[in-house]
């Protein structure tokens, strides 16, 4: 099958999730993503390579996370400390459409590859750098991980229950969203290039991208001078914008089992009252949204008392059948193996990895009718495709490649 992006080649120096998650999307659509890693430190700049959980024995090639973030990529090693290694990277840049990286700001330039040099090698190159705070400004030297990005940009603060510390995000949400922002920037840069022939350096600051995801709360401040840091906020299991009530996550039968229920309007509330079928609810059937919001704490307590006697899946199905938005808070195994919203969609492809063997991975949550994604190959082992890429892409012969290995360049 001809992939949507089979005509695109990326020289990919990125890693972790914030970078690898961006080029992963393009690779799934057939772009030739050539991941360049350091043979001396065995790719250790990317802390996910070699980190648990492991599929099999702990090691550089058995990280489940690394496999997940790097499906369908080619992996090569080049020692960029060596002049001959730099020359090889120049050769690769010269035949690539884009260069991607998420080092700290300025690192690639110090390695000898500032944008001016990339553009000298390939005048129309699309270069995307993704750092925490971007290439200029007083914080440009500051370093980040996903949890720091989401803390500084406002997203951690927005997530929590009233009068408690921020709950934040229990994972690097901004590594995902930063990766998506990087992918949008890269793809938009490629579209601009295809229409004008022009390349450019796209400078992405992951914290800025994060602030664009904080939603209407920010305008409440810039327009109404109403900060989100105020008593009773954040309160993110309730819905202030749009205003809804009842709207929360309630305890269900069993240990640490929960169900989310949202009433979008008066009609949803009436449907919920029907399902609850208890006198206290019936008496409040006609309550307006304003009254339900005013009585929200009491409503939550009564609804929670009711839900705690029910199986979360059975109750959620009954509520949805009645027209009320509801879902069990699903654990990983439940949503991955038993939810038709993912399994019917073909969301979990099985990859084949040279060392790990077969292992499922995250798919892409969209389908394109003519040129859909395909994920079959797992992440590359360190240097797995070095010889192949040097032969097929850079036109080296076996003797040259053997010599480069012998000289410690690969």
């Amino acid at each position: 099958m001809l992939g949507a992006l089979s005509h695109i080649r990326i020289c990919d120096l990125s890693g972790q999730l914030a970078g690898a998650g961006a080029t992963r999307f393009l690779a799934a659509f057939g772009a030739q993503v050539i991941r360049v890693e350091d043979p001396v430190r065995k790719g250790a700049w990317d802390i996910v390579r070699g980190s648990g959980p492991y599929k099999g024995e702990p090691g550089l090639e058995t990280s489940g996370g690394f496999n997940n973030h790097n499906v369908e990529k080619l992996g090569i090693t080049i020692n960029l400390r060596e002049e001959r290694g730099k020359e090889l990277l120049r050769e690769l840049v010269a035949v690539s459409d884009a260069v991607t990286e998420n080092f700290a700001s300025g690192v690639l330039a110090r390695m000898g590859f500032p944008y001016d040099e990339l553009a000298r090698i390939k005048p129309d190159i699309v270069y995307v750098s993704n750092s925490g705070f971007g290439n200029d400004g007083p914080y440009s030297s500051f370093k980040t991980w996903g949890p720091i990005v989401q803390a500084v940009c406002g997203l951690t603060f927005e997530s929590g229950l009233p009068d408690l510390p921020p709950a934040g995000w229990g994972y690097s949400y901004m590594d995902h969203m930063g990766a998506y922002s990087m992918a949008v920037a890269l793809l938009a840069g490629l579209v601009h290039h295809s229409r004008t022939g022009e390349g450019q350096w796209i400078d992405m600051a992951c914290v800025e991208a994060g602030t664009t995801f904080t939603g209407p709360d920010l305008l409440d401040y810039t327009v109404n001078d109403r900060p989100l840091r105020r008593p009773g906020m954040p309160d993110s299991n309730h819905s202030h914008s749009p205003l809804m009530a009842p709207h929360a996550i309630y305890a269900a039968a069993g240990d640490d089992n929960w169900i989310a229920i949202a009433c979008r309007d008066d009609a949803d509330w009436a449907r919920l009252v029907d399902v609850i079928g208890e006198r206290w609810a019936e008496e409040r059937r006609g309550d307006s949204l304003a009254r339900r919001v005013a009585a929200q704490a009491d409503l939550d307590a009564r609804i929670g008392a009711w839900t705690s006697g029910h199986d979360r899946f059975e109750l959620a199905a009954r509520l949805r059948a009645a027209g009320v938005p509801a879902n069990a808070v699903q654990q990983p195994g439940e949503r991955i193996e038993h939810d038709p919203a993912t399994t019917d969609f073909g969301l979990w492809p099985v990859t084949t990895h040279q060392v790990i063997g077969e292992m499922p991975a995250d798919g892409v949550p969209v389908h394109l009718s003519e040129t859909d994604w395909e994920i079959r190959n797992g992440a590359p082992c360190l240097g797995q495709h070095t010889r192949q890429v040097l032969t097929e892409v850079l036109g080296k012969d076996d003797a040259e490649i053997d010599a480069l290995y012998a000289e410690g360049v690969l």
Binding site: K55, S140, A188, Q200, V207, W258
Partner: protein, 407 residues
């Protein structure tokens, strides 16, 4: 319509919807000509607050303002044959149609994407729905909360105390994730069109978007069927970890990042204590020095080497000690300058006002005649100097561009 963005000249018809409007905004701010089609009286999201100057009118919804920058707006009544015909005509002249209707609704109205695409083979048609258009759950009701609960994020977010419920991450993230995947997919379809000459249909599944955006929540399961457990302000993990979100002297929180392991990191922490004049008061300072002398600590020796474990623990304690003595903003700035990756837990408005982002031009002024003043918006998610991002106009009023678009 922008004149400089990377998507300048691309024509998008967006049927107003909560699910698709963020994707439309991104296209519009990147220069595409996006026309948002609303029903008579305005789209439902105009009733979403907060409202400018707290005036509850459809022209004051800050939700509408935020998600509809740079677009033009028209009103069509799709419950009439004239409205359907006008929509079909707009769609036929577009590069992209973007909609977030419940599956089946447009077919019932006689707006059939397969027919329009057959007549206009280059058209890209994007449908954003809670469960995807073809799954057995396609027609079930959903909101942001229920998608994040069923799709994985909520299970990983909350507090150490599991008597408290899991937490929905704030800020309308189900639509944001889907919006990102919609834009990535449309741009991919554009690049494919360079080769194939044909458009296509794109089916964006919001629940699936959440499912693949949970990091270790998913890949720990893929790897070894491991289930992560939520913790306060840090990663959900199979085995509970030490806190990394610490309260500072002013009551605000910081994320301390990871405690030092390498010599360089121990030296950075020692240097930071010195800069703050806190070395003599910090009971853990001598152990940090030992960390330097013994060449750092490795994670693998923590369970077997008591001294390594004590030194590693001292790093974390020293960070907590510093937090107790200074304010959160000072912690963030002085820690970073000492070489320690850390961050203040800022509210969105505090992030927005940081001089760093102001210096980078992240604050963008947009004139709003309805309230007679300009409003600051968050700016470009990425700087593209050859094809700059920009907000070309405020969100449209109801039917503001009927005459120029519909004639």
């Amino acid at each position: 319509m922008g004149t400089t963005g990377p998507l300048h000249g691309i024509k998008v018809i967006e049927l107003a919807s909560e699910r698709a409007q963020f994707a439309g905004k991104q296209f519009a701010d990147m220069g595409a000509d996006v026309i948002v089609v609303e029903p008579p009286g305005g789209h439902h999201t105009r009733t979403y607050g907060p409202f400018a100057d707290d005036v509850e009118s459809p022209e004051h919804s800050l939700w509408w303002w935020l998600y509809n920058t740079s677009k033009r707006g028209v009103v069509l009544d799709l419950d009439t044959p004239e409205g359907v015909a006008a929509f079909a005509k707009l769609a036929a002249g577009a590069d992209v149609v973007l909609e977030g209707e419940d599956p089946g609704r447009l077919d019932a109205l006689g707006i059939d994407h397969t027919q329009l695409r057959a007549d206009h083979p280059e058209l890209i048609w994007v449908s954003v729905t809670p469960y995807g258009r073809t799954t057995s759950r396609a027609n079930e009701p959903a909101t942001d909360l229920t998608i994040l609960a069923g799709g994985g994020p909520a299970w990983s977010c909350g507090y150490d105390d599991h008597a408290l419920p899991p937490v929905r991450g704030g800020g309308n993230q189900a639509a944001h994730m889907a919006g990102m995947f919609a834009v990535m997919s449309i741009l991919t379809a554009f690049l494919a069109k360079d080769v194939t000459g044909r458009g296509q249909h794109i089916d964006v599944n919001m629940t699936a978007c959440a499912n693949v955006s949970t990091e270790a929540g998913s890949y720990m399961w893929h790897t070894d069927k491991i289930t992560v457990q939520r913790q306060t302000g840090r990663h959900a993990t199979p085995v509970l970890t030490m806190p990394s979100q610490v309260r500072c002297k002013d009551g605000r929180y910081v994320n301390t990042g990871f405690p030092p392991r390498s010599v360089k990191e121990f030296e950075a922490l020692i240097g930071w204590l010195d800069t703050l004049g806190l070395t003599d008061d910090c009971p853990d300072a001598p152990l940090l020095q030992l960390g330097v002398e013994r060449g750092g600590v490795s994670m693998t020796e923590l369970s077997t080497d008591e001294l390594a474990s004590a030194i590693f623990g001292a790093g974390r304690e020293a960070m907590v000690f510093i937090a107790q003595h200074i304010d959160a903003m000072e912690y963030f700035e002085t820690g970073q300058r000492a070489g320690i990756p850390c961050g203040i837990v800022a509210s969105p408005e505090e992030a927005f006002e940081m001089p760093h982002f102001v210096a980078r031009g992240f604050q963008v002024e947009v004139e709003h005649d309805v309230i007679g003043r300009s409003v600051r918006y968050p700016g470009a998610p990425a700087k593209m100097p050859a094809s700059p991002w920009g907000i070309s106009r405020r969100a449209p009023k109801i039917g503001e561009h009927d005459a120029e678009v519909l004639g």
